[in-house]
């Protein structure tokens, strides 16, 4: 088994890691076009970014937004950044969908050092053991949970698409309206109309 020296160094490693976790924030709902320099520039107003690690999607079979773990200088900055992004809609690279930020958690880091003192006991269960049936059912339960989760994700993504579509339509509508107004003003129709209705334009 490990010597006490090894254990001490592992503990230290994990302690360092925990420190890092405290000053890292997790940003979600990022556009896939956002890159490291963009994030650095975006956060420059409230925090100094030391490292950006993008999360690679291995498990979700849908087109999901990007996410990143952003390491800042210290915990204070991390708090400030998260607060800023929760109180106000903070938009990175494109409008109007804001990003979402939370404090990072240890399990978000794919390359984390092992957590000392973690229970890793295992046992083998064969058919015929009393527990086998239960375990089998638990496995099936887990699988079912998974598909439920995926269904939820799909549902949420569809909702997002709906909202985006709605907003785009509203935007286009507004755009057309303003365009029309502009045209009317620029080509003088409005003066004629004003004259016709006896309304003064300068008000």
């Amino acid at each position: 088994m490990e010597t006490s020296k090894e254990k001490a160094s592992k503990d230290k490693e994990y302690a360092d890691f925990e420190e890092k976790v405290k000053r890292t924030i997790y940003i979600d709902h990022l556009s896939p076009q956002v890159t490291t320099p963009v994030i650095k520039a975006a956060l420059a107003q409230c925090a100094n970014v030391t490292n950006v690690e993008f999360i690679v999607n291995y498990t979700i079979p849908y087109d999901i937004p990007s996410a990143a773990l952003v390491e800042l200088d210290d915990e204070m900055q991390a708090k400030a950044a998260v607060e800023l992004m929760t109180d106000f809609p903070f938009i990175i690279g494109g409008m109007p969908r804001p990003v979402h930020a939370t404090h990072a958690k240890a399990e978000m880091f794919r390359d984390r050092p092992p957590c000392p003192g973690l229970r890793k006991d295992f046992r083998w269960i064969k058919q015929g053991d009393g527990e086998y049936e239960v375990m089998r059912k638990l496995k099936n339960l887990a699988k079912r949970h998974e598909s439920e989760n995926m269904a939820l994700i799909k549902n949420l993504l569809d909702e997002e698409k709906e909202l985006a579509k709605q907003q785009q339509e509203a935007l286009n509508g507004n755009g057309k309206k303003y365009e029309m107004l502009e045209d009317v003003v620029s080509d003088g129709t409005i003066r004629k109309l004003a004259h016709h209705y006896g309304v003064r334009l300068d008000d």
Partner: protein
Amino acid sequence: MDGSSERIQFSWGKRRAKGGVKMDTRFYESFTLDNVKYSLYDCVYLFKHGDPEPYIGKIVKIWEQNQAKKVKILWFFFPDEIQKYLRGSVMEKEIFLASGDGIGLADVNPLEAVAGKCTVICISKDERNRQPSPREQAMADYIFYRVFNVENCTLSDQLPDKIAGLGVEVLLNPKDELVISSPNALNPNADDGLAATAPPPHSAVKEENESPDAAVPLSQPAAKEVDAKSPAAVPLSQSVVNKEDQKPVAAIPISKSVIKKEDKKSVAAVSVSQSAIKEEEKPVASTPHPRSAVVENNAKHTQSQNAQGGERPPKKLKLSQEATVKNMTPAVTETRPLELPSRQADRSKWFKISWDDKLQRADEQGTLVYIQNLDINFAAADIEELIREALQLNCTAKPINHPTYDDPNNGKAYAIFSTKKAADDAISKINSGLVVGGRPLYCSKGLLKVPKSSGTFVGHLSLHNIKIGPKQREEQKKAVSTSHCSQPNTIEYDLALDWMLLRAKQEKKFEILHKDHKNAREGFASIGSKAAKAGK
């Protein structure tokens, strides 16, 4: 060797004059090999059998004669090749252009020997040289400003008027700034059509966890698995190539390089630090003395040029005698089958194979296992330790949950085993009933299908119906990178709030679902323990 090695894509580019004594030679300005376009005066890599590191040269002539396609390569020298004659300091990434007349200046090689493109920028202050931008210089694979005269073996920073019969202007920086290609996926179906620049083999260790969109210049999509029957692997020669001792070169460039994952993950980093190309276990390729094998080959192949004493050896890359472009038959010697130098080593990660590449390869080889229902707090090392203790098998593993979407009750991980058999064993054992901390694990083989993220982002709106002038378009492009806190007096603010509301709802939904799952599991656990007690 398998006779049906895949045909390497090839096509000619722009034609030039005809020539030759019998007017049977046709010269060209460019060609495309394996979906990479090479033009005259491009800098390319060429491999020599027995060397882990390629040579660099400039294409100065391209032609076809009697069905044989040839290129004339003007060589560059690495600093250690001309150490004897080197005076003063050597810059980082510096190489030296050959000049003068004689052996070692240039050679004619079969076109198929070209193994990839390379960016070499000239930083000479000569007035004929277009001065490169600092960006060009930083991004170039190599730089040069000095020439090495092969006749009198002298180094000079004065560029001569002619080299190899060509005016020196054409050999310097091209008029337009070089397009540095964007990262090319290892996937042969790379999306961008830009020619990939092959990174220098001396490049520094690349970070394993580089973000996907970091510009890692990858070589051509070449990391192909070697067919089990065709054992042509580059030998793992650890020694530094000492050119002084070079014998006449049989110089068969390596065709396919195999990147295999080592058994132990730590060794992977070490072995790959020499070269990412590992030998096959087949007897064919496992000669411990590549140099002697090369010499053996030499004895059997006729070489037109012989190196004198300590002079620079000719770097003539020759295919086997009987071989033409397509028919590669195993060579006379029992050791080295000579193959088309078609595939280039994936040298982008010579020093470290990134996790993503490993995944890809493992999947192809059938050694990738997807494990589910782990405790989400398990780190990579924990999982590996677990596998080792439970199954007595070694593997490399990584937890892969997505923090936003994946259920935290169900931890997922990818594990890469050393052999297919090991992977199969593991799967059957784990599925038959491995329970870790009260959680029955289950696993399956292979990569999950994950769609590539599209460039568009749901929720980023744009105004279509406004005519934008070109200047404004430029500004708009730049504006993509601006970010801000939305102020309450804009339309954008309302829209943004809509999104925030939606997201808050989503969070709630996830919370409820995951809590539900957790409770269900705990319910089960208690049933389980009751059953166990009852069973006993």
